[in-house]
């Protein structure tokens, strides 16, 4: 079967025809041989049965009168049949009474024990026996053995003839099938060839001519239709592809145009930005120079104003004294504002440099130095419940930041309230630390919580709480310069928590955590 599978259709068809032919002929031959063998056997046993019956009839008297010579003479008649190899007459005691052997070959035949007609084929021989009946009484048995040589010779001839016929038939079948297989295989082969052509060359316009109206014909029809559909789809696909390509082209041009526009726009923006930055820088420089240069005359005004006030004490009265006070006061405030502007400007202009700073030290120094007078004056306590972390910032700026926030917290208090400041810290996202400065002041309404970080934005009149409106703007600037964020959580009347985030120093977390652990273990 495996061999058959890999054959071409032509040889497959021929092989199948030949095999069918061979099987058919073999079966017919076998049936014929079997039938002939049976009929030969039957014929032979019939002929021998007649012979046996005749002998049985003829030898009745011989047996009755014990004349075995006569019986042998009767048996001699068997010599006309060369296939008979033994003939025997047995008496009623199953003893051999007379015998005949073909060509004097002694063949041992078992004494006939049967008293009725029977025939047996065994050992390539046929044994037939018949009773000798005299007056309704069995007086003996005749037995003839015949070899089957003749039958086998005849059968051999038949087999030879059948084989010859088979050979000729197979030859004829081969020739006929070789010519007729084309009826089936040609359309299939042409179909296969076309399919190969289509798959290799993508030639969907090819068609096969239908020659027959059988299954192959309908297969060819279906194939042709399929090809037509594929061809249609192919052309549609080509069209669509072309359209798509055009669209892509269009889009690409559009995109490049837009891109160009964007590029020019970006360039424009850049130049504008550059100009802006330039202007900004100029403005900063101007502010710095202006405030720096304004300080000197202002200091003179306030210093000499103070001296004038001292020397005029008691000499001027009423409105004059008040006017002088206003003047000195204005000069002082202007000094403060210029100081604030300078601080702000310094934050912006000074080159940024950061290092590891221990915030605990900063707070302690502020408590001892810059804020000591103010703290004592207002009986304020600064509470640091947990050690603060080491942070990676500009030390001067962080000092300014902390000072501003603490001072801010002490400033905005209800009258008679003793300020209390608490500084805590905690981790924030992206390796930052969050520092909280909480006061017990008047608090800030939510709608103003963004505005307070804008320069010169003040919520209260200068009579209520003195201030320049620059402090928190400077704080915001410092935090942003150090890469952090600043904000406030507050409710009016409940105090405020100003918080900011700054980068932690490389080993700050270790420093921050170790004391914590120490506190807990104590």
């Amino acid at each position: 079967m495996l061999v058959l599978r890999n054959m071409t259709i032509k040889y497959k068809l021929m092989t199948i025809v030949m095999i069918a032919c061979l099987i058919g002929l073999s079966l017919a031959g076998a049936a014929f041989i079997g039938w002939e063998r049976n009929s030969l056997h039957k014929k032979m046993s019939e002929a021998l049965s007649i012979r046996v019956a005749m002998i049985a009839e003829n030898c009745k008297s011989s047996l009755a009168f014990q004349d075995n010579k006569d019986a042998e003479q009767i048996l001699q008649s068997l010599s006309v049949d060369s296939s008979v190899i033994f003939g025997g007459i047995y008496d009623d005691k199953n003893e051999l009474f007379a015998a005949y052997y073909h060509n004097s070959n002694k063949v041992r035949v078992s004494p006939a024990e049967f008293k009725k007609t029977m025939s047996t084929f065994k050992d390539n021989s046929l044994v037939i026996s018949a009773p000798i009946v005299l007056d309704k009484e069995i007086i003996g048995t005749v037995c003839i053995q015949s070899d089957l040589k003749d039958i086998y010779t005849t059968l051999k001839h038949s087999v030879q003839i059948i084989i010859a016929v088979m050979f000729i038939s197979l030859l004829a079948a081969f020739l006929v099938s070789a010519r007729l297989q084309g009826v089936i295989s040609k359309p299939i082969l042409s179909l296969a060839k076309l399919a190969k052509d289509v798959s290799e060359n993508k030639n969907y316009s090819a068609r096969i001519v239908k020659q027959t109206n059988d299954e192959v014909g309908s297969l060819i029809d279906a194939f042709n239709e399929m090809l037509q559909q594929i061809q249609m789809r192919d052309s549609e696909l080509l069209k669509a592809q072309k359209g798509l390509e055009m669209k892509v082209q269009e889009r690409t041009t559009e995109l490049s145009k837009t891109n160009e526009q964007l590029t020019t726009e970006v360039a424009e923006r850049k130049s504008i930005q550059d100009k802006l930055e330039e202007t900004n820088q100029e403005l900063k420089n101007f502010v710095y120079i202006a405030s720096h240069d304004l300080r000197e005359p202002l200091r003179k005004i306030s210093a000499f104003g103070g001296m004038l006030q001292k020397s005029l004490t008691g000499k001027i009265t009423g409105d004059d004294a008040e006017n002088l006070n206003f003047m000195i006061d204005g000069a002082t405030r202007m000094t403060q504002m210029i100081e604030g502007l300078l601080a702000y400007s310094r934050v912006s202009t000074k080159a940024h440099s950061s290092e590891a700073v221990n915030l605990n030290d900063i707070v302690e120094q502020l408590r001892q130095l810059e804020l000591s007078v103010l703290l004592e004056e207002k009986h304020t306590t600064i509470d640091v419940p947990q050690p603060l972390p080491v942070i990676d910032v500009d030390p001067a700026q962080i000092r300014q930041l902390m000072q501003n926030l603490i001072a801010n917290g002490m400033k905005y208090q209800a009258k008679g309230n003793v300020p209390h400041i608490t500084i805590t810290s905690g981790p924030a996202a992206d390796g930052m630390v969050r520092i909280n400065v909480t006061d017990n002041g008047i608090g800030i309404a939510p709608e103003f919580q963004q505005a307070i970080f804008i320069m010169f934005k003040r919520l209260h009149s200068k009579n209520e709480y003195e201030g320049t409106g620059i402090g928190l703007a400077v704080c915001k600037k410092i935090v942003e310069r150090n890469g952090g964020q600043i904000g406030v959580d507050s409710q009016p009347g409940n105090g405020s928590t100003f918080w900011f985030t700054v980068p932690a120093a490389g080993d700050s977390q270790l420093l921050a955590k170790e004391p914590k652990l120490a506190v807990q273990s104590n």
């Binding site: 009745k60 008297s61 009168f65 014990q66 004349d67 005299l134 309704k136």
Partner: protein, 193 residues
């Protein structure tokens, strides 16, 4: 003692040898029934018994013991023994005896009385459908139908076709071919050998 025994055994053996021959003869007589056709008036087709007459032989009748219960076809077999007819027999007795002989289908002459009486008996039975069997030389010439002979130590027989024909009997060819000698007509009384 041993001597006496051996003599007895010898006698027994001799006796049994002749007995065997006689038994064979009885069997042959029985078989003749199957190869000889009797005329219809002598042996009607009505299952009448067949009569075998043994002329003068009480001893021989014993030999029929094995076949006594046999039948010939569907007919019974009756064995009749006849004493040897003396010479001085009365006419009436003779006729009686002849009449008894005529009833038989086979009459076997075991002993052979003198030739004259034999000839008279055979003549008396002529045409009466009785198969006359004997066992003496020239019995056929004396008018017998079948005569037993010993050939090569085997029991054989010879047939006189002329006398059987006179007795209205038909000998079948099966039997005839076994005969060692057949007398077919008066002119050639010694053809077959």
């Amino acid at each position: 003692m041993a001597l006496i025994l051996s003599i007895a055994a010898l006698n027994l053996y001799a006796a049994s040898d002749t007995d065997k021959e006689d038994q064979l003869k009885a069997a042959f007589l029985y078989n003749f029934l199957k190869f000889v056709d009797w005329p219809a008036d002598k042996l009607p087709d009505n299952n009448e018994p067949v009569v075998i007459g043994i002329y003068s032989g009480q001893k021989f009748a014993k030999m029929f013991e094995p076949i006594k219960d046999k039948t010939a076809g569907s007919r019974q077999i009756i064995i009749k023994e006849f004493a040897c007819a003396a010479k001085g027999i009365s006419n009436e007795d003779w006729n009686k005896q002849i009449e008894a002989f005529r009833q038989c289908h086979i009459l076997f002459f075991v002993d052979y009385p003198d030739a004259e009486i034999t000839k008279k008996i055979i003549e008396a039975l002529n045409g009466r459908g009785v198969l006359i069997v004997g066992q003496k030389e020239n019995f056929l010439e004396a008018g017998g139908n079948i005569n037993f002979i010993i050939e090569e130590n085997k029991l054989r027989f010879e047939i006189n076709l002329v006398s059987t024909k006179n007795n209205n009997l038909k000998i079948r060819s099966n039997l005839l071919k076994l005969a060692k000698r057949v007398i077919e007509d008066k002119s050639s009384q010694e053809t077959k050998g």
